[in-house]
């Protein structure tokens, strides 16, 4: 396994709570975070459930999040990055020069809530009297600017919008920045807030479940949405060692690919996903036989799960039956651009604590996915060295990340 890049800190905020401990506890207790959505009126929609993270001020009491007028996602990111830097032991002093620190984030919506605020006001009072301040928070570069300024990041920064693969894609890009020597520290991750725009959009495409999030369950009927923020602090192993950091895991490898098939439907044969997973394993220097846990993309939509199964079957062959796999979207909902990063953090926790969380709501696995060991019923103790996390999104965007136990 390639051991040149390490994850020295993680930050995570989801419906399960704030930080790795709360996340782990929620997974251990098999506690789904779904509730009736509070942030907008769901009347008129067929579905009312989803997952919202705690409000930023509640999640990060006492931390300066930039003021209440700042976009919710940016406030959450401020807290999550702060958490990850503390976890990496960089809360007081960062030995890396500002110009060598980079920020690569993935999101589909970024500050859409600020745009929403403007558009509602515009509809109420008309464009002449609407206040445009919140519209100015919408562009992705505004979020990057605020975060870079807060955390003194003077190097390259970027917002990747690869739909639901955004968070994982950020890690592939970050690995290259470090390996090629362009940066000495990269803060990477993904996020998306809960927003009526996406709720309505996925609803219009008939992708929201009426029966709950049930990945790989026979008769599953769709996904439920969630809000999530996942951040990792990445460094070259030698640099981390030199400053006395204790890595949580290796970021052994990652990959991205395109289906080139359809804008909203996955390739039914999973050809793009297959290439992506194979490339990630190759990048990580591991074989499929070495993978001891798979955090599935597992959205719960009929086509997505089947396509992922076919890709995994092609990559793992008969060995697939021996690899425990689960979809943590059954706890957190689909956090869209955040999913890849949130699930990488969960994969790191699974390796560190030797615990693979089960998929909730699976009583009868889809027979068409026979051969995939979808953990259900209870958590399983694992002694895995390597975990794989998959993310696939609209636009045929795929990303896979391989993490390794330190």
């Amino acid at each position: 396994m390639r051991q040149d890049i390490v994850i020295t800190g993680v930050g995570i905020v989801t419906g399960l709570g704030v930080g790795p401990e709360a996340t782990l506890e929620g997974l251990r207790r098999q506690r789904p975070a779904f509730h009736r959505l509070r942030s907008f009126d769901t009347r008129g929609y067929g579905e009312h459930r989803g997952v919202e993270a705690p409000d930023p001020a509640e999640a990060f009491p006492g931390l300066d999040l930039g003021g209440q007028r700042r976009d919710r996602a940016v406030q959450h990111l401020t807290g999550t990055i702060d958490q990850a830097l503390r976890d990496a032991g960089l809360e007081h002093e960062n030995p890396v020069a500002k110009e060598r620190r980079e920020l690569i984030l993935g999101s589909t919506l970024v500050a859409m809530l600020s745009a929403e605020q403007f558009l509602r006001e515009e509809a109420d009072v008309g464009p002449a009297r609407a206040r445009y301040r919140s519209l100015g928070e919408w562009p992705p570069e505004c979020a990057l600017y605020r975060l870079a300024r807060r955390f003194e990041i003077g190097g390259f920064s970027s917002m990747v919008s690869n739909a639901c693969a955004s968070g994982a894609a950020s890690m592939q890009l970050a690995i290259d920045r470090l390996r090629l020597g362009h940066a000495d520290l990269v803060i990477a991750g993904g996020f998306d807030p809960m927003c009526e725009y996406t709720f309505a959009g996925f609803g219009s495409l008939l992708l929201l479940s009426k029966s709950g999030c049930r990945p790989f369950q026979n008769g599953r009927d769709g996904m439920l949405l969630g809000e999530g923020y996942g951040i990792v602090v990445l460094e070259r192993a030698d640099d981390a060692c030199a400053r006395g950091a204790t890595p949580r895991a290796y970021l052994a490898g990652a990959s991205a690919s395109s289906d080139g098939f359809h804008l909203t439907q996955p390739d039914p044969e999973g050809a793009g996903a297959t290439r992506c997973i194979q490339a990630a394993l190759l990048d990580a220097g591991v074989t499929a036989q070495e993978v001891g846990y798979v955090n599935l993309h597992g959205t719960g939509t009929p086509f997505n799960d089947l396509s992922e199964f076919r890709a995994l079957r092609r990559v793992f062959g008969e060995h697939l039956e021996a690899v425990p796999a689960s979809s943590t979207k059954s706890y957190l909902g689909h956090t869209l651009g955040g999913a890849g990063a949130v699930e990488v953090v969960i994969s790191v926790l699974a390796l560190q604590h030797g615990l693979a969380p089960p998929t909730l709501n699976v009583s009868e696995q889809d027979p068409e996915t026979h051969g995939l060991d979808v953990l259900a019923g209870g958590a399983r103790r694992i002694d895995a060295e390597v975990a794989l996390s998959n993310s696939f999104g609209f636009g045929g965007a795929n990303a896979a990340v391989v993490v390794g136990r330190v």
Binding site: Y145, V160, L180
Partner: protein, 391 residues
């Protein structure tokens, strides 16, 4: 040593029309595409409740792509784009030209792409929102939603041109196109792909025009009344990048080389320290270019767009000129923004096309792009086959 990256194909859709030849000819002839355009609130699909105060039509100077030009120029690329946003069609036509020129035989699995946009599907998002606000859940359009996701552009391009390797879409300010180039270069140098299609696409809309106007940066008066102010432009550009050694081994001829590209985030454009930070970013590239060309003039394209960024940029460049003892004249030689408006993420690529002739004749070129939120990128172009290493 990281392998050197070269450009093997160029494509452009501009307010002048489709194609890099049209762009070059238009720039040489000094053909301005900037017109006064009046946009009406609601033309992007917005609907307002009874009794709401609706603002007067918005008038500003803009440069827009002639209707239907991209589809007419490259009809085979428009398959499946009937419902797509306009900028996707621009991006497809530019990509088609760039890939045709590159004439590379790299298989689909080894091709990747990084595209970018500042405004992306702003018009579609706006229309979907207004549908929602007017009619609730029933007003949400599935096609507006799916075609309005930012990576609809990269997804369509991957499908149209069977680019099956790494594919990424970036959102950001004016320099995001060059940031896409940074990541594409990384992808090639890391060996994840053998060919990268890089580019940007923008589409103007009423909401974008109104937003920029409200922020007080858009040029809305006649030039003789107010020389300052941003003129928005739209269109697309695409370039094909490959490793130089692969291109030469295949007996092909690169168009020009990426001698270096640097990106940074400036802390605060109002502070003196940020001017110095920008000067420190520019200086090594200027020195490197001067070393290669002796004292022959550098071809310089600036970010200059009629906003307060201009003064900031000029001050940083003046510092660099002093530090290199006047061996470099910090004047922009690009006519792109003057004639075609500021195409945001796209402009640096149009400037790259503009610079090609100078570079092909043995010169060096620098393209600087600075965004409102302090993101800055600098691209250094050199003749293919010259000895500069990638910075």
């Amino acid at each position: 040593m990281r392998p050197r990256i070269v450009v093997t194909g160029l494509g452009a859709v501009t307010p002048l029309g489709v194609g890099t030849a049209v762009l070059r000819a238009g720039l040489k002839a000094g053909r301005s595409c900037i017109l006064h355009r009046v946009r009406t609130p609601g033309e992007d699909g917005g609907r307002y409740p009874e009794g709401a105060v609706v603002s007067a039509p918005v008038g500003s100077y803009e440069a827009t792509v002639p209707e239907a030009e991209p589809a007419a120029a490259a009809p085979e690329t428009t398959k499946g784009l009937r419902r797509a946003a306009v900028h996707v069609g621009f991006g497809a036509a530019a990509s088609h030209e760039a890939l045709q020129q590159s004439d590379s035989m790299v298989p689909p699995e080894r091709r990747g792409l990084v595209f970018s946009s500042s405004l992306a599907s702003c018009r579609f998002s706006y229309r979907l929102w207004h549908g929602l606000l007017a009619s609730g859940a029933a007003g949400a359009s599935p096609s507006l939603f799916s075609e309005g996701v930012p990576n609809a552009l990269s997804g369509h391009l991957a499908r149209l041109f069977q680019i099956l390797g790494p594919g990424h879409m970036l959102g950001g300010g004016s320099d995001v196109g060059l940031r896409a180039l940074v990541l594409a270069q990384d992808t090639l140098q890391a060996g994840r792909a053998d060919l990268m299609l890089v580019g940007a696409a923008e589409e103007l809309s009423e909401i974008a025009s109104r937003g920029y106007r409200k922020f007080g940066v858009v040029k809305s008066r006649r030039a003789d009344q107010s020389p300052a102010g941003l003129v928005l432009g739209e269109g697309a550009a695409a370039i094909v990048l490959e490793r130089e050694r692969d291109v030469l081994a295949a007996g092909r001829t690169p168009l020009l080389a990426v001698a270096g590209i640097r990106s940074a985030q400036l802390a605060d454009l109002r502070r003196e320290a940020s001017i110095d930070q920008l000067a420190r970013l520019i200086e090594p590239a200027v020195r490197q270019a001067l070393e290669s060309t002796g004292d022959a003039p550098l071809w310089l394209a600036l970010s200059r767009n009629g906003t307060l960024l201009d003064r900031f940029e000029a001050r940083a460049l003046a510092r660099v000129a002093r530090r290199v003892q006047g061996r470099f004249e910090p004047q922009s030689r690009s006519r792109v923004k003057e004639l075609l408006g500021d195409g945001m993420s796209v402009s640096p690529f149009w400037q790259l096309v503009e610079a090609q002739e100078h570079v092909a004749a043995g010169g060096q070129a620098l393209v600087l792009s600075l965004s409102y939120y302090g993101a800055v990128s600098l691209l250094h172009l050199a003749p293919a086959g010259s000895r500069e290493s990638s910075a």
